[in-house]
């Protein structure tokens, strides 16, 4: 997305892309050392909300000497942070790009996050979050959590066309004792094991909780229109037709609230088979719409 000639053209924009606090790929998080104890923070790492990330990003902007962003761009949880930016720092953002996001999680979203967390919690190696001190990794729990998550990122159609009912091993032949393994099973296990080797379980707990707690309009009397009246920027909202995690309906709620709040908004619903994952993929119309809008941002 950001590179020479891409929608966020680095010849035109100074791009700041960062890892959230509480994460496990650079920023301080549960696997960092707590200076008071000399041990990893683990489950005692302070719980975070989307606004904490936004506030930390504002402090980074201060440090970098950036008074006002040309645009704050985010997909999914990033889109939620972008919207929070527009409300918390209305004078510091000119454009807000919200991709495959929602005003808040639905009960179904909360349910999937809970299953993922329970998978981690029920792994004995999680040890109440103190696995690092004990030299363990709750690999099985993390892998299961990722498998559940991954199902919600893909559409029925994407899974059907990617794997169908193809077999990786085994056969349906009678008298054959070898168990059948479907391609989709092997794919999910692979995704799970890759993830459990690279992601911190306490970070997973923290991030999914931050998602669960996010509700853009809660402090505005649960009225998204009243919330968006605090914004002063222009908005681009993008959704994907087969995304059932944050479906086009969720994006239209954002758009409708912006319209009712009389804020400049552009909305595109991209036809894509890939489900929620689509926001990470180079889909031609997605790139066209995004590029056209970024030209306006830079113009």
């Amino acid at each position: 997305m950001h590179r020479t000639g891409k929608p966020i053209d680095t010849r035109r924009f100074f791009v700041v892309s960062l890892n959230n606090i509480g994460g496990c790929h650079g920023s301080t998080g549960p696997s960092s050392i707590n200076p008071e104890t000399g041990e990893p923070w683990g489950p005692d790492f302070p719980s975070l909300r989307a606004r904490d990330w936004v506030n930390s990003q504002a402090r980074l902007a201060d440090y970098l000497g950036i008074d006002c962003w040309a645009a704050v761009v985010g997909g999914s949880l990033g889109g939620m942070q972008a919207m929070r930016w527009a409300l918390e720092y209305p004078t510091r953002i000119r454009h807000c790009v919200v991709i495959a996001a929602a005003l808040k999680l639905s009960a179904q979203n909360l349910a999937f996050n809970e299953v993922a967390r329970q998978a981690i919690l029920s792994d004995p190696d999680f040890a109440g979050g103190h696995y690092l001190e004990q030299g363990k990794v709750p690999a099985q729990g993390l892998a299961l959590a990722r498998m559940v998550g991954h199902i919600t990122y893909l559409s029925d159609h994407a899974m059907a066309s990617k794997f169908g009912r193809d077999l990786r091993t085994g056969s349906f032949e009678r008298g054959n004792e070898e168990d059948v393994e479907f391609q989709v099973q092997s794919y999910l296990r692979y995704q799970g094991s890759q993830f459990s080797g690279s992601f911190d379980a306490n970070t997973y707990m923290l991030m999914t909780r931050a998602l669960d707690y996010f509700d853009l309009a809660r402090e505005y009397n649960n009225d998204p229109v009243a919330a968006f009246r605090h914004a002063q920027c222009s908005f681009l909202v993008i959704s994907f037709s087969t995304d059932w995690r944050f479906s086009p309906e969720r994006s239209r709620e954002i758009v409708d609230a912006l319209i009712a709040a009389d804020r400049p908004v552009t909305y595109a619903e991209i036809e894509a088979d890939e489900g929620h994952d689509a926001f990470l993929l180079p889909i031609p119309r997605y790139l066209d719409v995004f590029s056209a809008y970024m030209q306006r941002v830079g113009g």
Partner: protein, 196 residues
């Protein structure tokens, strides 16, 4: 720029708020923004048109008129424009009601099916007219609700819609006299400024 669009500009007040239903590539909204400082929003479903309109720096919402406009609050725009789209929607009467709920005034343009060429075509050949202006066949046309000048005015009367002004586009740019005198026969495009 299509002729009906140059005609209706003068009905739009500088600095006002305009909603353009079926805004296409945003050519008209851009003109209004650049020449009349209009704050505009466009509604469109054509994918290439939406991208072009975004590239023009306009606010465009991808939305199907046939699914309604309930997301737009009452009286939230000064003028709502429906240019060459009335004949392509499923419920033209409901769209008119919605236009005047959302906007104080509406501007509607449509191809006049009462034009003498249409009548002659249908009268002599007995087949649905196909012309330079309406290049589609009956089975593949997006224009599913053709009407005449008289039809439209009858609907306005039935709905208590007040016609503030009527304008026409004739066959040739230089000879609008016939079209002005006998619009139902000679107007190729009818243009209405309406309110309630």
């Amino acid at each position: 720029m299509r002729l009906d669009l140059t005609h209706i500009q003068r009905w739009i007040k500088p600095g006002s708020r305009v909603l353009d239903l079926g805004c296409g590539n945003g050519e008209f909204l851009q003109l209004l923004r650049d020449q009349r400082q209009v704050r505009g929003t466009g509604i469109e479903i054509g994918e290439p048109e939406i991208t072009q309109a975004i590239a023009r720096g306009l606010n465009i919402v991808e939305q199907d008129l046939d699914r309604g406009l309930a997301n737009f609050p009452d009286q939230s725009f000064d003028t709502v424009v429906l240019a060459h789209a009335l004949q392509a929607v499923h419920f033209p009467d409901r769209v008119l009601d919605e236009m005047l709920r959302i906007g104080r005034e509406g501007i509607v343009t449509f191809p006049n099916f009462g034009h003498w060429r249409c009548r002659v075509y249908l009268g002599t050949r007995g087949r649905m007219p196909v012309s330079r202006f309406m290049p589609y066949h009956w089975y593949d046309t997006p224009n599913i609700h053709f009407c005449t000048v008289k039809d439209f005015e009858a609907l306005c009367e039935q709905k208590n819609i007040r016609i503030l002004a009527r304008d026409v586009v004739g066959n040739t740019e230089r000879q609008p006299l016939l079209a002005t005198a006998w619009p139902n026969l000679f107007a190729t495009t009818a243009i209405y400024h309406i309110t309630r």
